[in-house]
């Protein structure tokens, strides 16, 4: 009799090459049955690629996958589901125009040809009773908060009776409390129901809090794996980063905060569905200060940033830069040195199919020296400048001609930041700038924002991460229902009070 293998899943010497870029260079991962396994690595290390190869979403160019010590061939996610492997992807895969119930039904391996909604809903309700969290079955997905969506994603996989649940950065859209709740429940299922979990995360707090073992990747290569108990986070960080040094936080310098550069006066704006998203919002930002805006996502932050970026019309009120009314033209943004880093930059501030160099030139391709007499584009100059920015901001890309959509999330963020933070900046608007970035990148970007402030830039920082706001801001506002409802400073701030205002109390 053979001894059963302790491993539920073994991915052995997996290789994945995109065009001629080696994303996974013979990487192996072994996951013990009933364990909570964390997969760590900096942005672009190949974590998502590895789990997508396991799921059959990508087809690896080499290596094999063993389940229960038997080699399996997984050609598409459906095969993986049939083998009891479920995955929650880094980006939501729920369908916004459908209800929660429709989304849950769709995941089933054998959909009936005709759907009897009455009995399906009844069955979902009973199964829901055994789930770690509740979600409203009849609601449309686009009415749910990010946290609720993530719960639906996880429930969707649990309903499939997955033995192995793969989670790709499941908590980046959640508040720390929500993250603890969700991960705590899943940990419960690992301990009680024999579920195995493979989780990708950038947060050490979650690794030490929930995981049993870790595997670390760096630049597409396997670095090592170890038990979490008895390993210091410092050691894990060193495995992730190798010999690279991590920047120390930049100190807040004394600045003369006198001149008001950005004035938002009684501003109202509509959301994409035509409802009031911002209502009579007034706010000032002075030179050399960072004004933070805290709030649960979906309370008007997105619309506020879009108005400032010129992507959304003002319904009422006005915006002034240097005391002059801002009409969201390119000329004015340039005149007043207004720069914007919206959330999800790949979607909101890039053309994914254009090259990194082209994307980096959006602000100035039409003025000398990049455009001769404002007409002919000097591509050489544009690429030359892109090369400088790529080195300066450590954007990891093959060349400046790579299409920006092929960069990992963190590198897109860096590329856009390089574009927006170069040259003179008087007013800087940033939204969730470190969403999904590894800790090294977080430190780097925070330092850049702080440096801009120290140089006299007026910074408006919109973020869902309270820690980030407390670290960077000079003054914090809480937004709820499209209005500013509370104001405080980091030194006087009380998290629970802020939390209450965020929740709308």
């Amino acid at each position: 009799m053979t001894i059963p293998s302790p491993y539920l899943l073994e991915a052995l010497i997996i290789r994945k090459v995109f065009d001629d870029f080696v994303a996974l260079d013979d990487v192996s991962l072994k996951l013990a049955r009933g364990s909570f396994h964390a997969l760590l690595g900096e942005n672009g290390a190949g974590k998502s690629t590895l789990v997508k190869c396991i799921m059959g979403y990508y087809h690896p160019d080499g290596g094999n996958i063993l389940l229960d010590n038997k080699e399996v061939s997984i050609n598409n996610p459906r095969d993986a589901h049939n083998l009891g492997i479920g995955m929650v992807y880094q980006h939501f895969t729920l369908i916004p125009n459908m209800t929660v119930a429709e989304n849950l039904i769709l995941a089933r391996p054998h959909l009936p040809a005709m759907i009897d909604w009455k009995s399906e809903l009844a069955e979902l309700e009973t199964r829901m009773a055994t789930m770690p969290f509740k979600v409203p079955l009849q609601s449309n997905i686009n009415t749910l908060s990010a946290g609720e969506k993530q719960k639906v994603e996880i429930i969707k996989q649990l309903l499939l009776d997955s033995r192995l649940l793969i989670l790709d950065e499941p908590t980046s859209v959640l508040t720390p409390n929500e993250a603890d709740e969700v991960l705590g429940q899943i940990k419960g299922m690992v301990d009680d129901n024999g579920l195995s979990v493979l989780i990708i995360t950038h947060k050490f707090r979650e690794v030490t809090g929930f995981a049993d073992e870790v595997t670390v990747l760096r630049r597409g290569k396997y670095v090592g794996s170890c038990k979490v108990a008895g390993t210091e986070t410092k050691t894990m960080a060193a495995m992730m980063m190798g010999s690279e040094v991590i920047a120390e936080p930049l100190a807040r310098a004394e600045t003369k905060q006198n001149e008001t550069l950005l004035e938002i006066d009684q501003l109202s704006a509509e959301s994409s569905s035509g409802e009031t998203a911002i209502e009579s919002l007034s706010l000032n930002v002075r030179a050399g200060e960072i004004v933070g805006i805290a709030g649960v996502s979906g309370n008007g932050q997105r619309e506020l940033v879009e108005v400032l970026a010129g992507q959304r019309d003002i319904a009422n009120g006005s915006i002034r830069l240097h005391g002059e009314t801002f009409d969201a033209t390119r000329r004015q943004a340039r005149l007043h040195n207004l720069h914007c880093l919206p959330e999800e930059p790949l979607k909101n501030a890039c053309v994914p199919n254009m090259s990194v160099a082209e994307n980096m030139a959006f602000n100035n391709f039409d003025i000398p020296p990049y455009a001769l007499k404002g007409l002919l584009i000097n591509r050489g100059r544009i690429r030359e400048r892109a090369r400088t920015l790529i080195t300066q901001f450590k954007v990891r890309t093959e060349t400046e001609d790579t299409r920006i959509g092929a960069l990992s999330g963190g590198n897109v963020q860096r590329a856009v930041l390089a574009r927006e933070l170069s040259g003179d900046i008087d007013v800087l608007v940033v939204a969730n700038p470190v969403f999904g970035l590894d800790f090294k990148a977080v430190e780097e970007i925070h330092n850049r924002i702080m440096a801009a402030r120290n140089n006299g830039t007026a910074v408006l920082l919109v973020s869902e991460d309270l820690d980030e706001l407390l670290e960077l801001s000079d003054c914090i506002h809480v937004i709820s229902g499209g209005k500013l409802v509370y104001q405080t400073t980091p030194s006087e701030a009380d998290r629970s009070v802020i939390g209450q205002h965020m929740a709308g109390h």
Binding site: G56, Y57, N76, P77, R78, D79, H81, M87, Y89, H91, T93, L94, I95, P96, N97, M98, E102, I105, L106, A107, L111, P112, A113, M114, I115, W117, A269, E270, S272, S273, G274, R312, D313, K347
Partner: protein, 309 residues
């Protein structure tokens, strides 16, 4: 004045009758386009399917003596064009709008070429139900002459709405149209789903075309279609990708198109060409009034907003 009342009434009756008569091909083309767009692809070539369907339907009806066989073949010709559209679109770096325009030209050109010899002969036409026999007003009787394809359209509309909500295939089509990522993650074959949806949509557009040659106006010639296939695209937007709305919108467009002839029949001839432009003006007005800088169209399939791949 009595005469005026009478002519107003007859205009209304004529517009109602026209809404049904002119609207029927719109119903089929817009339902077809709705199905195709729900799967995440836009087929601008339906004008080609329509003209091709008109020609094929007429030719087969003439050759076989059976108008229903004509309708079937018209549908199949549309499905074949749909297949070609889908096949071309799934090649790398091919854009569905461009393919649609090419196929529109190909479809009409091919139909003109193959249909040359069918311009003169008289083919057997599709039948109708006379629902107005109780009335002795001839105009009302004419308006209530309900064609069989309209009845099919009445049945097809709720059937398609049901399909999207209650059937596995309907959910799969919507998933593919809403998010290619979600569809991939669920293991659906995106190209296959889109191909079938485009073929089914093309089939319906072909059937709509056969109505033109086999019922109203009722003969085959090269000036048969006046852009119904293209206007159907606008109509689907107006209908917010909802089959039931497509049906009503088709009647509205049909009524608008019947306005010119109806006015002419009671002697208002001054603005004839102007009134004939009513459906086009309506299309433009609808497109302008329903677009906004700040809002996303409700109901638009997600993949048409943010194309995945």
């Amino acid at each position: 004045m009595n005469g005026d009342d009478f002519s107003l009434l007859s205009v209304i009756i004529a517009v109602l009758g026209g809404a049904i008569r002119v609207g029927t091909p719109f119903i089929f083309v817009s339902l077809g386009e709705c199905l195709t767009e729900k799967s995440g692809r836009i087929n601008l070539g339906l004008e080609g399917n329509l003209v091709m369907g008109a020609m094929a339907g007429y030719a087969i009806s003439y050759l076989s003596g059976s108008p229903w066989l004509g309708v079937l073949v018209a549908g199949l010709s549309g499905a074949a064009l749909g297949l070609l559209h889908a096949y071309l679109c799934q090649q790398p770096r091919v854009n569905d709008i461009a393919v649609g325009i090419a196929l529109m030209i190909l479809g009409t050109g091919l139909a003109f070429y193959m249909g040359k010899s069918f311009i003169q002969p008289q083919a057997p036409r599709l039948g109708s139900f006379s629902l107005g026999s109780w009335s002795d007003i001839p105009a009302l009787r004419a308006a209530l002459e309900i064609n069989v394809l309209f009845i099919v359209g009445i049945i097809l509309t709720p059937a398609m709405a049901w399909f999207f909500k209650y059937s596995r295939w309907g959910l799969i089509v919507r998933t593919v149209g809403e998010s290619t990522d979600a569809a991939l993650a669920s293991g659906f074959n995106i190209n296959a789903v889109r191909m079938l949806s485009t073929m089914a949509g093309g089939f319906l557009a072909g059937v709509g075309g056969s109505f033109l040659s086999l019922y109203y106006p009722g003969s085959w010639n090269e000036g048969l279609s006046s852009g119904q296939g293209l206007m159907a695209v606008a109509l689907v937007i107006f209908a917010r990708w909802n089959p039931v709305n497509c049906f009503y919108a088709s009647l509205l467009f049909g009524g608008a198109a019947a306005l010119g002839p109806a006015l002419q029949s009671v002697g208002v001839t001054s603005g004839y060409y102007l009134f004939n432009a009513a459906p086009y003006v309506l299309t433009l007005a609808i497109m302008v009034s329903t677009s906004s800088n700040n809002r996303v169209l409700t109901g638009i399939p997600g993949d048409l907003v943010n194309p995945g791949r």
